[in-house]
């Protein structure tokens, strides 16, 4: 278009002049502070944001049962002034003999999912008459506790990891126990593990008792120190962080993060044409790497 106008009206000097101006202009890189203020200024606007998600699952190559359970729910709460993105994403990796692992992870997903959606039922599917009495963290805490008590009662001896993320607006509230993980995957290549593994090896590493190398070869890597359904009381990690933007929220079981390295995961997510493909590629890659355990992965993204 510009060329077209230039042909119509422009002289030959004009582009040259512009070029000289650019060459003479002094530029300095923006400081972090400047960038932050620009970014935060942009975030402050009430833009329409849309939440999208996808999920991938596989039993893996070496297990007969699938003890992982998964729930994804992506929606919007319509409001008078704006539409608020709503998402609920849960991965649970069950453990224990026989089918009890499945029972535990399945129950955890259903009970947590049921409890949380019940709280938001009137906002999602009805006209709310009452404001929500519980805070988001209370909703998560009560739900995970109820699931814990159920598993203790109905599937004694078994247990499950649970990593649950409730997205409301631009915030993510996480409830977490065990060694499934939530990641913040940023478009610039940073990958942050948002959750902390409740495993013996991680604890020993945190205490400086094992080096990173020792930790990788630790014989009891799969020993958890906390799990839903285990122990009399459950202390889940519950916290709220901003949704990673621009980027992705990833939740997965150790069948994925234990097999693939972070660089590969990042590349597979960003190379894929869409979230569905990214999830499938991740699952296929974990299987190609031996698929020693059940694989579950959820990807969510805030667009707009």
């Amino acid at each position: 278009m510009a060329d077209f106008f230039r042909k119509l009206f422009g002289t030959k000097e004009e582009p040259v002049k512009q070029k000289q101006q650019v060459d003479m202009a002094t530029t300095a890189p923006l400081t972090d502070q400047q960038i932050n203020s620009i970014v935060s200024g942009q975030n402050a606007k009430y833009e329409m944001k849309q939440l999208i998600s996808s999920v991938g699952q596989s039993v893996g190559k070496q297990r007969e049962h699938n003890e992982d359970s998964v729930l994804t729910l992506t929606s919007t709460i319509s409001g008078s002034t704006e539409n608020v993105p709503f998402g609920l994403y849960i991965v649970a990796d069950g453990m224990g003999g026989h089918q009890f692992g499945e029972v535990a992870s399945n129950a955890a997903i259903r009970i947590m999912g049921g409890n949380i959606t019940k709280k938001f039922n009137s906002y999602l599917y009805n006209l709310p008459s009452q404001p929500l009495q519980d805070s988001l963290q209370e909703v998560m805490e009560n739900s995970i506790l109820e699931a814990h008590q159920y598993v203790q009662r109905e599937a004694p001896g078994s247990g499950t990891t649970v990593t649950a993320a409730l997205v409301l607006g631009q915030q993510v509230t996480i409830a977490h126990v065990g060694d499934s993980r939530a990641y913040a995957v940023y478009a610039d290549g940073r990958m942050e593990v948002i959750t902390r593994d409740h495993s013996l090896v991680k604890r020993l590493e945190e205490l400086g008792h094992l080096s990173k190398d020792e930790a990788e070869n630790f014989p009891h890597r799969n020993v958890l120190i906390r799990a839903l359904g285990q122990g009399e009381s459950l202390e889940a990690d519950i916290f709220t962080i901003p949704f990673p933007q621009p980027g992705y929220l990833m939740i997965c079981s150790d069948g994925l993060w234990g097999v693939l390295n972070e660089n590969d995961i990042f590349r597979m997510i960003t190379d894929a044409p869409n979230l569905h493909r990214a999830c499938q590629n991740l699952v296929e890659a974990a299987n190609a790497a031996g698929g020693p355990d059940n694989i579950t992965v959820i990807l969510a993204q805030m667009i707009g």
């Binding site: 003999g97 009890f100 988001l136 607006g169």
Partner: protein, 618 residues
């Protein structure tokens, strides 16, 4: 405990009435272990007296015959070893035998309760003297085991459930680590929750000093009633004994802490030396002086740099601008003082008390008064430029953004006023008087009302959202990231999503709060009417620390460098290390401090209801 045992238990347990090897008549289950159950049984070889025995069962489910045989051999070897022991705190072994995959150990039956049950059943904390006396007995029996010839015996499983308190009130060690190997492989073995094992035991190093650690852990559990299996491993240091049970002596706490040192070399090197230390505790001779307990150095002799006396109470917060300190007073005046030496510059009389914090913008100082007006006064001359009337008293402090002044009034309106002309831009009517100071962020105005609402308006004065607390919200919000933090007289500190007003979390304070939160790193600080200054993690809503003052905290904390400063109605200004809540210094004024300090260039400025303005070194 292996995760499989849950469903095996009912199937495999021996039923009462069954007689083993024609001799031991099973009466009841008295315990469940990792590899099987423990039963109370009657020895039928003594038909004329009731001789009770404890029968300990080990179920060997190893599928590989060689492994199974090894387990049985280990079991028998250990049983033989125990048969050589002779100590009043160790049950005698009468017999052992194997049947198919089951092996049995027949032991002296102990009449009594295990220590875990004793702890759980106790009404409150166990007396220290009692726990110390058991601890000494346990050191005795450990010393006996550790000095066993030819090889020392490591108990490896010292925990309250393995310590019986017999009918005489003496301890007996039960459960001598039969076949207590790591159950590796299956996920969820959960061995880490044991809570009593020292770090080195996870590397397979079991030494006498490992038993010392476990004894320390058991004592910690007994004296604090905090079960270490419910806590992260090796986290005792995060639960200081005397913070949980204030009745415990410093000396006993020091002994337990020494036993619980992470590094084995830092613990007692023998059960005897631990016993000696405990004996000293028992005698209260104070011989433990070499084990230092960190008592923080607290400075109370803080002298003010200067002070300035007004004619009535100062309840509000000063404002510092270009070397001048502006502060409102209940003698109706706004004072301008030289911040360096407290020299009086000028004062300006309003017609009401001033609690509102002043604000300087373009050489004018803006502040509100109980005389229902926003006053604008020249910083140079102290003469009025213009005033702005509302329909009620004003306690809210003005805030400025983009040439607009925002504040609330008792007339229930949030006022937006042009900072140059004094003209109303808009007013927003709410459900109650506004004492809260508005927060201006993200081109939004956030504030609370005495009717218990938190409002979010955009800069055009349109409602974006409203949140309802249970009591009035006098506190002023602060924001970080996408959340705003605000307290209410309902006794809750709220984290609200700044975009839509959803409560992200709630933190329960002991009582209501009119204090406004401050933020540093991932911490939010707030005072409350229960007299505490709280530090709460902004991500998890977990309390990081709380600091007790002697009266209500209406003052709002201020963070400067690595300290938090806050006043209290007890008359003190406190300086606390903000990560730990440790007291650095406190300064006593002669009356309640309800306003907040302002800190600049390592100097803290604040007013007190004792009529003084103070300047102190931070």
């Amino acid at each position: 405990m292996g995760t499989g045992s849950g469903d095996q238990r009912p199937r495999q347990q021996l039923q009462p009435g069954i007689t083993l090897v024609n001799r031991y008549n099973i009466q009841d289950v008295i315990g469940v272990g990792g590899m099987g159950s423990v039963y109370r049984a009657r020895d039928l070889h003594f038909p004329n007296v009731v001789k009770l025995v404890a029968v300990k069962e080990m179920i060997n489910l190893a599928p590989d015959p060689l492994v199974r045989q090894t387990i049985v051999q280990n079991f028998e070897r250990e049983a033989n070893l125990l048969a050589t022991l002779n100590h009043p705190a160790i049950p005698r072994i009468y017999d052992y035998f194997s049947q198919n995959e089951h092996s049995y150990l027949v032991l002296e039956y102990i009449h009594g309760k295990d220590l875990e049950t004793v702890i759980a059943d106790a009404n409150g904390f166990l007396p220290e003297d009692q726990v110390v006396s058991w601890a000494i007995q346990l050191c005795d029996v450990l010393a006996y085991l550790h000095s066993h010839k030819p090889d020392p015996i490591i108990f490896r499983d010292m925990k309250p459930s393995n310590v019986m308190i017999n009918h005489n009130g003496d301890v007996v060690l039960v459960d001598f680590g039969i076949a207590k190997a790591f159950q590796s492989g299956q996920k969820g073995t959960m061995i880490g929750t044991e809570g009593y094992s020292p770090p080195e035991q996870y590397r397979g190093e079991a030494t006498q000093i490992a038993d010392i650690y476990s004894l320390g852990a058991a004592l910690h559990h007994a004296i604090t009633r905090r079960d270490p299996r419910l806590e992260p491993p090796f986290s005792f240091a995060e639960r200081p004994i005397r913070r949980i049970n204030t009745n415990v002596s410093v000396e006993f706490e020091a002994v337990v802490n020494t036993a619980l040192q992470y590094n084995p070399a830092d613990r007692f090197q023998s059960a005897e030396s631990m016993k000696d230390a405990l004996m000293n505790v028992a005698r209260k001779t104070g011989a433990l002086s070499k084990i230092t307990s960190a008592i923080p150095a607290v400075s109370t002799g803080v002298k003010p740099l200067w002070s300035f006396k007004c004619e009535d109470e100062i309840r509000g917060t000063p404002f510092l601008h270009q070397g001048m300190l502006y502060v409102g007073c209940y003698d109706n005046n706004l004072y301008a003082l030289n911040a360096a030496d407290g020299q009086f510059q000028w004062k300006y009389p309003s017609d009401g008390g001033i609690v509102s914090r002043p604000l300087v913008y373009e050489n004018n100082v803006f502040f509100c008064s109980e005389d229902q007006r926003l006053h604008v006064v020249s910083t140079r001359t102290g003469k009025v430029v213009w005033t702005y009337f509302t329909e009620g008293k004003i306690y809210s402090s003005p805030r400025i953004s983009d040439g607009h002044i925002f504040f609330g009034s008792e007339d229930q309106d949030l006022h937006a006023v042009n900072a140059s002309s004094g003209r109303t831009i808009w007013k927003f009517s709410t459900d109650g008087p506004i004492y809260s100071t508005p927060l201006l962020a993200n081109e939004m105005v956030y504030f609370g009302t005495e009717a218990g609402s938190v409002y979010a308006l955009d800069f055009r004065g349109e409602l974006k959202w409203r949140f309802q607390a249970k009591r009035s919200v006098t506190s002023s919000p602060i924001n970080k990231g996408q959340a705003i933090y605000i307290a209410s007289v309902d006794g809750t500190l709220y984290a609200l999503d700044s975009k839509n007003g959803w409560a992200i979390w709630k933190f329960r304070l002991g009582k209501g709060s009119v204090s406004s939160p401050a933020i540093a790193d991932d911490f939010v600080f707030i005072g409350a009417a229960d007299g505490f200054i709280y530090c709460v993690d902004t991500r998890t809503a977990k309390e990081v620390w709380r600091f007790r003052t002697e009266n209500q905290v209406s003052s709002s904390p201020t963070v400067y460098k690595d300290s938090v400063y806050c006043g209290s109605v007890d008359g003190f200004m406190y300086c606390l290390e903000y990560r730990t809540g440790r007291l650095r210094w406190k300064f006593e004024s002669q009356a309640a401090i309800t306003g907040s300090p302002v800190v600049f260039d390592d100097i803290v400025y604040f007013g007190s209801t004792d009529h003084h303005v103070y300047a102190l070194f931070a």
